[in-house]
């Protein structure tokens, strides 16, 4: 998103031409080196690894060309995890950004106890991942979980407690819910801050023009929010794609691969099947997918900004 923001922001208007400026390069260089050492070089190593056979206990690393990619395209579990990843991404983006937007709209109202409500509603952001998994794991326990009390109250015809996270059809919605529970406050906070920075004059002008509240939201608030919403969309996509701990510790990718995203699949292939090169191959493919999605977003945003009269 840095790029998206960086590319698009209209910064200084063309001022007087200055002599060549080295400061930005001096500032950027340490970061480029830093990210290079810790992330970009390792990822390049992984990229090369995807053209080798590198399986623990199966002899030395050999060059195998495109074998891993051939295997991947024929592997139905790869396509499964691609599908699972997209479902998880779309689900989390919609639920977390949607809940974030709704919570921001609520918190933008004036009401008694607003600051307490803001603290409570954004608390999950501060709540660490591991305890989050633990508590939902316990709430959703088939035998003793408190969720059964609510479920039986709302759906009195239930004969048995549902299996919750170990039910093939419920696992994904629940994992999406947990991920969104943890993530939505951040989006809510950002959106709230945008709303609070919209100048009052705009609303006053709208009211003078006879706009209803609904119209004020439609024609004043929403246009101001859209760039941020798109940015949040990209962010949520990326975070959902990277999500590991919440899924891995709650369902382990199961049951029957129902929540096995690409990242879980990469991890399992590399660390449970010890096929490091094939894991790297799936990782490269996943990276390509998320990169394409991000570029699409960036493109949309650019066009939208251009349309807005940039």
């Amino acid at each position: 998103m840095t790029a998206v923001a960086g590319v698009n922001t209209q910064l200084t208007k063309p001022t007087a031409r200055r002599r060549r400026d080295y400061l930005p390069y001096l500032l950027a260089l340490p970061i480029i080196i830093y990210e290079g050492v810790f992330i970009l070089i390792p990822i390049l190593q992984q990229f090369f690894s995807s053209f080798t056979s590198d399986v623990l206990g199966m002899g030395p690393v050999r060059w195998v060309g495109l074998d891993n990619y051939e295997r991947m395209f024929a592997d139905r579990y790869f396509w499964n995890s691609l599908r699972v990843t997209l479902v998880f991404m779309v689900g989390t983006v919609i639920v977390s950004v949607g809940a974030g937007l709704l919570s921001a709209l609520l918190l933008n109202q004036r009401f008694r106890g607003r600051s307490v409500a803001r603290a409570v509603m954004t608390l999950p952001w501060a709540f660490p991942d591991l305890p989050t998994v633990l508590i939902f794991y316990w709430i959703l326990n088939q035998n003793f979980g408190v969720i059964n009390v609510f479920a039986r109250f709302l759906l009195p015809w239930l004969e048995q407690n549902p299996k919750w996270m170990f039910d093939i059809n419920l696992a994904m919605p629940l994992v999406v819910f947990i991920a969104a529970w943890k993530a939505f406050p951040f989006y809510g906070l950002v959106l709230l801050s945008v709303m609070q920075s919209i100048p009052h004059e705009l609303y006053e002008a709208a009211t003078v023009d006879g706009a209803s509240r609904r119209q004020a939201f439609r024609y004043v608030t929403l246009p101001e929010l859209i760039p941020t919403l798109m940015l949040m969309g990209i962010l949520a996509c990326i975070f959902a794609f990277r999500q590991f701990v919440l899924i891995f510790l709650s369902t382990g990718g199961g049951p029957a691969r129902a929540t096995e995203t690409l990242v879980i699949s990469v991890y399992k292939t590399a660390f449970n099947s010890f096929d490091f090169s094939y894991g790297a191959t799936i990782g490269v493919a996943g990276f390509a997918v998320v990169f394409a999605i991000t570029l699409a977003f960036a493109f949309l945003q650019r066009r939208q900004e251009a349309a807005a009269g940039g």
Binding site: M1, T2, A3, V4, A5, G6, V7, L11, T12, T15, D21, P24, A28, I31, I32, Y34, F38, I39, L40, P42, L106, Q109, F111, A117, R118, V120, M121, L123, A126, F127, P128, D129, L130, P131, L134, I135, F144, G145, P185, L192, S193, V194, Y203, T207, R213, A216, F217, T228, L235, F244, V245, L249, V263, V266, A270, A280, G283, F287, F291, T294
Partner: protein, 295 residues
């Protein structure tokens, strides 16, 4: 519901008593949100403070039927093999502090480079940061582990903090860059005319204005390091150097850790970031707010 979606500024012409009625949906929604966010945390506390056998029944009582705090004694100083949550949390504090400091310093560099005048390669720099943000940790851990092992840099919080910073830095730069963007060019130009060099301007003018943004960056970096599991578990092998997530993870993977102890450890582990967040909450909103204006 649309009714509630109005702006605080818009004055309602309706009589007072109707306004109260109108606000019921708002309160109901707020209450529902609060229930969804607070109930799991409440439930965690209930399950920790009551004896575990009360939790292991159906239906579970919605309010604690008895209070038994011995679980805290066990996780803090009980048998060594249960693990020492206090030591792990101390380690996590060290790690999170280091990560926060690194992230702050480096994100100031990066944000200033991105927020200033256009320069050749700026877009590319942004793209590089975006790419690093997109990569899942699971993809990096093998090659990175190999390198760090060869350099004999394992079992060090410094190394781990550097790795964590690499992953959280892009979003920190993004937040701070947006804050810098909101500072009007006139202020910068005026400072330059007054004879400040640009480093001086950054230090004396921009950073003070961007203080809430710095807080937001600090919180994001702190949370990241506090949560990070994959690298912490592979780059630290000495048990006394476990960070809290790894320690808790090791409790999960022990064959007999009962749920109350796990939840107790999780609760203690959550206290620091929650308190930290509540303390600086106000500034976080302000910091994101400043940054979000331009989007």
């Amino acid at each position: 519901m649309e009714k509630t979606i109005s702006t605080s500024a818009a004055a309602s012409p309706k009589p007072h008593r109707y306004r109260w009625l109108e606000r019921i949906p708002l309160y109901v929604l707020v209450l529902m949100f609060c229930l969804v966010t607070a109930f799991p945390i409440y439930w965690m506390i209930v399950s920790v403070v009551q004896p575990v056998n009360l939790s292991l029944q159906y239906p579970p009582p919605l309010f604690p039927q008895a209070i038994d705090l011995k679980v805290f004694g066990e996780i803090f100083s009980g048998r060594e093999s249960v693990g020492r949550v206090d030591i792990w949390i101390g380690n996590s504090l060290v790690l999170a502090t280091l990560t926060t400091v690194f992230s702050l310093v480096l994100s100031i560099f990066g944000a200033y480079a991105l927020a200033g005048r256009r320069w050749r390669g700026q877009g590319l720099f942004g793209l590089m940061l975006l790419m690093t943000q997109m990569l899942p940790e699971a993809l990096i851990v093998i090659p990175l582990y190999a390198t760090i092992d060869q350099l004999k840099l394992k079992d060090s919080f410094l190394t781990l903090a550097l790795v964590d910073t690499a992953f959280v830095l892009p979003i920190c730069i993004w937040i701070l860059k947006n804050v810098f963007d909101t500072i009007p060019n006139e202020i910068r130009d005026a400072a330059l005319v007054d004879g400040c060099n640009r480093i001086g301007m950054l230090w004396r003018i921009m950073l003070p204005i961007a203080a809430p943004g710095l807080v937001a960056v600090g919180v994001v970096a702190f949370f990241h390091a506090w949560n990070e599991y994959l690298f912490a578990s592979s780059l630290i092998s000495s048990r006394t150097m476990y960070t809290a997530p790894v320690g808790l993870g090791s409790m999960i993977s022990m064959i007999d850790t009962p749920i109350d102890k796990l939840l107790g450890g999780g609760l203690v582990f959550s206290i620091f970031p929650v308190i930290f967040y509540l303390l600086v909450q106000r500034y976080v909103v302000a910091g994101l707010s400043a940054g979000a204006v331009k989007g």
